[in-house]
Symmetry: C2
C-alpha cells in the first residue's frame, strides 16, 4: 500500500477513536448521572491519551514527515497535498509542545476552573488572578515554542482560525467597534415592546423546535435534539450529528434561538463530504467558519421579518390558545438592542462589542501590555467605552466567562469573525439567489442550504478560511457587510 493510502487509513482510524470520545463527551453533557462523573473522567483521559500517543507516535510522525518532503509532496495530487499539508501543520504544532507541558496545562486548568468558579461565586477576581497569571504565562511560552511573525497572539489564533493574525483581526474589529458603539448610543434608549405574558408548555415547544430544525434542513434521521444547560453541537460522522437546546416555559423564543443556532452548526457537519471522513477534506475548516453557519441561520435568517412570519404560523399551530401576536411584535421581540453586562445574554448587535473587548484584552495579555492584575479595571473601562454600561462587580464583569480557565486564549474572536463571514456570505447568497428570503415565510429554506452546501460545506478544509471567503464572495475578510446589515436594521427600527 502507498504511503498516502496508509495516511488516509490511519486518519480514519484516529477519527473513529475521536468519534468514540465524542459520544462519551456528548453522553457526559446530556445523560451522565451525577455520581458517574469521576469514573467517566478516567475513561475519557485514557482514550484521549491513546489518541494523542497514536498521533505523535514515531511511526505516524515519520509517515507524515516523509510525505511532506518536497520530492514526495510534489508527486501527490492536489487533494493529497492538502491532506498531507494540513496533517503536518497540526502534527508539527503538537510536536513543538512537550508532553509535560500538555499535562501541566491539564492540571492547571482543572485548578483554574475551580478557582474561577469560586471567585465568580464570591465575585472576587483576586481568587482567580494567580491561576490566570499562570495560564497567560503558559500560553506565552507555548506561543514562543510554536513561533509567530508579529504577535505571540498569532500563534494562538492560528489554532482556531488557520492563517489569520492579530493584525488581520484588528483590521476588521476596529472599524466594527467604532460603528457599533455609535449605533448603540443612538438606539439604546428605545423601550422594548412587552409581549403579553403566556405559558408555552415545554413538551409542545419540543415538537415545534423539531419542526423548525427539520424545516431548516436538519436531517433528524442523522441527528437528534436533546437538552443541556449549555447548548452545543457535536458530530461523530455526517450520519450522526447531534445538537442540544434549552427551554423556558414563559418564552417561546429562548429555545428557538438556541435551536436555530445549533442547527446551523449541525447543517455544516451533516454537509461535510462523508467519503473524505477522517481527513482534512472532510472536516470543518475553522471555528470562525463554523460560527458563520450557526450565526447566519440564527441571525440573518432567524431574526428576519420573513422568519418571524413563519414562526408566527408555528405559534398559531402549536399554541392555538395563547395570546395572538403580530409578526411585528415577534420581530421586535427578537431584534431589540440593549447594551447589557453579560455576553451570552447580549443581542445580535451589542454582542460583537463584548467580543472586541475580549479580543483587545487577550491580545494585550499575550503581548504583555495588559497585566492580569489590572483586568477588572481594564474590563470595566472598556465596557463603559463600548457599551456605556457600568460594571457593578467582577461576577458581572471579568469573571463571567469560563473560557480562560480552560487555558483557552484566542477563541473569543471566532464568534464575531463568524458574524462577519456570515454577513459576507449572506450578502453574496442574496445576490446569487433572487428572492432568497421570500421562501422563509413559508418555512422553505432549501435554496440557502443548497447554496451553503455547495459554497462551504462540501469544501471541508480544502481552503483556508480567508481563501474560502474570497473564493465564494470575491473578497477577503471585511466587516463592512456586517456594519451595513446591523446599521440598516437598527436605523429602520
Amino acid at each position: 500500500m502507498s504511503d498516502i493510502q496508509d495516511l488516509r487509513n490511519e486518519l480514519v482510524i484516529m477519527s473513529k477513536y475521536g468519534s468514540a470520545l465524542g459520544v462519551l463527551n456528548w453522553d457526559q453533557e446530556v445523560n451522565l448521572p451525577k455520581k458517574g462523573h469521576a469514573f467517566r473522567g478516567e475513561v475519557n483521559a485514557l482514550l484521549s491519551a491513546d489518541l494523542h500517543n497514536r498521533f505523535t507516535s514515531d511511526k505516524f510522525v515519520n509517515l507524515v514527515k516523509n510525505l511532506h518532503k518536497p520530492e514526495n509532496f510534489k508527486k501527490l495530487s492536489t487533494d493529497e497535498q492538502i491532506i498531507v499539508r494540513e496533517t503536518w501543520r497540526d502534527l508539527e504544532k503538537s510536536l513543538k509542545i512537550p508532553t509535560e507541558m500538555v499535562e501541566e496545562m491539564a492540571r492547571l486548568s482543572t485548578q483554574a476552573f475551580n478557582a474561577w468558579a469560586d471567585a465568580r461565586e464570591k465575585s472576587d477576581f483576586k481568587i482567580y488572578q494567580p491561576y490566570l497569571e499562570k495560564i497567560v504565562a503558559m500560553n506565552q511560552k507555548q506561543a514562543e515554542l510554536i513561533g509567530y511573525k508579529k504577535s505571540p497572539y498569532d500563534a494562538l489564533l492560528d489554532d482556531f482560525e488557520p492563517g489569520l493574525t492579530a493584525e488581520d483581526v484588528e483590521a476588521v474589529f476596529t472599524p466594527l467597534a467604532k460603528e457599533l458603539a455609535g449605533l448603540v448610543k443612538k438606539v439604546k434608549d428605545k423601550p422594548k415592546v412587552k409581549l403579553p405574558k403566556a405559558k408555552y408548555p415545554i413538551d409542545v415547544q419540543v415538537k415545534m423546535n423539531h419542526e423548525i430544525a427539520a424545516a431548516l434542513g436538519y436531517d433528524l434521521d442523522a441527528g437528534r435534539i436533546d437538552v443541556s444547560p449549555h447548548p452545543f453541537t457535536t458530530g461523530f460522522h455526517p450520519t450522526d450529528v447531534r445538537i442540544t437546546t434549552r427551554y423556558q416555559e414563559d418564552d417561546f423564543y429562548y429555545a428557538v434561538g438556541c435551536t436555530v443556532h445549533e442547527t446551523g452548526h449541525a447543517l455544516y457537519e451533516q454537509g461535510l463530504p462523508a467519503k473524505e471522513y477522517g481527513n482534512p477534506l472532510g472536516e470543518a475548516v475553522s471555528l470562525g467558519i463554523h460560527e458563520s453557519q450557526s450565526r447566519m441561520w440564527e441571525n440573518f435568517v432567524g431574526r428576519s421579518p420573513e422568519f418571524c412570519h413563519y414562526l408566527n404560523t408555528l405559534l398559531l399551530k402549536y399554541f392555538p390558545n395563547n395570546p395572538k401576536l403580530t409578526d411585528e411584535q415577534i420581530y421586535d421581540h427578537l431584534n431589540h438592542v440593549q447594551p447589557s453586562l453579560i455576553r451570552v445574554e447580549a443581542d445580535e448587535t451589542t454582542y460583537n462589542l463584548h467580543i472586541v473587548l475580549r479580543f483587545e484584552i487577550e491580545k494585550g495579555l499575550m503581548e504583555g501590555t495588559i497585566k492580569v492584575a489590572d483586568l477588572p479595571e481594564v474590563w470595566n473601562a472598556k465596557m463603559k467605552q463600548y457599551l456605556g454600561v457600568e460594571v457593578p462587580d467582577d461576577e458581572h464583569g471579568v469573571l463571567q466567562d469560563v473560557h480562560w480557565s480552560h487555558g483557552s486564549i484566542g477563541y473569543f474572536p471566532t464568534y464575531t469573525l463568524g458574524n462577519i463571514y456570515a454577513a459576507q456570505l449572506f450578502n453574496k447568497a442574496k445576490s446569487d439567489i433572487p428572492n432568497l428570503e421570500a421562501g422563509f415565510k413559508k418555512g422553505d429554506f432549501d435554496k440557502l442550504l443548497n447554496w451553503l452546501r455547495i459554497s462551504i460545506h462540501k469544501e471541508g478544509s480544502r481552503y483556508y478560511p480567508e481563501d474560502l471567503i474570497k473564493k465564494v464572495t470575491g473578497e477577503g475578510l471585511n466587516s463592512k457587510y456586517l456594519i451595513d446589515y446591523l446599521g440598516s436594521k437598527n436605523n429602520k427600527q
Copy 2:
C-alpha cells in the same frame, strides 16, 4: 511493581475500554439516529478488536500464565488467587478459539440474523435452517476445542453459568417441568378478571416508575431510566448503571414489570464493590445469579400481595381520576396463569416451561440427538406436551427468539436458573428477616436489599454460582423452592 499489581492495573484498563464500549452500545440502543448505525458499527468493531487484542496479547497472556504457575500461585492471597484463577479461566478459553473462527462466527451471525428476520416474517423455518445448521456445527466445533467432561453442551453452559453442567441443569429442570406441567393443567381454564379500561398517560407513568425504582433502592444519582423496545440493564461502573423500560398507555403494569425487573439487575450492578472495579471480585458472577436478582424483584417482590397494595397507593397518587382498583384486582392482573405461545409474554409460572423446552432442544442439538431440520416438529410436540398448546406456525413457534441467530447457544437456561436461585434466596431471606414482606406495603424494601447486598452483591465473582448459593442458603441448586412457591401460589388462586 509486582506481577499481581500489573495484572490488577491491566484489568482496570481493559474494563475502562469495556465501559467506553458499553456507553457506545447503550447509546446505540437508546439514542442512535437511524442513519448513524453503519458508522457506529465500524467504531464498535474497532474498539472491540482493540480490546480482544489487548486481552490475548503475548504480554498479557504471559503475565497471567506466569501468575497461574503453582509456585507463584501459592504465594498469592486468597483474593489474588481468585483474580488469577478467573482471569486465566477466561483467557484459556479465548486462546483455544482461533481468531479466524471468532471472525467467521461474527460473519455468520450477521447472515443468520438476517435470515432469521426474513424467515420469521414469512413464517418459514426453511429459510433459517441452513444458517442455524452452521451455527450448531460451529458451536460443536468450539465445544470440542474448549473441552468438556460429558456433554458438549457443558462447554457452552460454562460461559454463562461457570461450573454448571447439562446434567446439573437437567437434575433441577426435569422435576420442575413435571410439576409445572401438572399445575398448568389444573389452573389453565381459570378466566382472567378484566380490569376496567383506562388511559395512563405515559409522562405520568414515567414519574411513577422512577418513584418505584427509587423505592426499591435504585440510586438514580448513579443511574438513569430510558426507553428502548427491548428493555435492558447496562453497568459501566457501580457509579453509572442504567436501565431501560417501555410503556403502554392502556396498561399501567406493562412498564412497572419491566422497570422492577431491570431495577433488580441494576441493584446488583450498583452493589458490586467499586474498589475491586475491573477484576473478578468486582464483577457479577453469572447470568443466572444476575437473573435471580431481576426475577426476585420482579416476581417474588413485585407480584406479592404487599407490592400490589403499594402499587395501588401509587396508582391513586398518580392517576387519581382513573377507575379505582382493589388490591385483589391488581394481584389477579399480575398473577394470572395462562399457557401461551410466546415466551416473552408468558406468565411467571408457564415461563419456565418455555425455558425447559429450549434447554432440551439446545442440548439435543449439541449432542446430535436432535437435527435442525426436525426443529419445527420437535418444538411443536414439546409445546403440546408441556403447555398443552397447538403452535399454528413457525413465527409463533421455533422462530420467535433471536438468540440462536446471534450464535448464542446455552443462554436460555439462565432465565429459569435465575428463578430457581431467586426462590432459594428469597426463602432464606424470609427466614432470616422476620416480617420481610410487611414493609413492601409501604414501599419499604431496605431490609431485603441490605440482605442481598451482603449475601450476593458484595461478593462479586468470589464464589462460583452454586457455591455462592450453598454459602448463603446452606444448600446447592434445588428447584424445590420454586416448585413450592409456584404451587402454593397457584393452588391459592
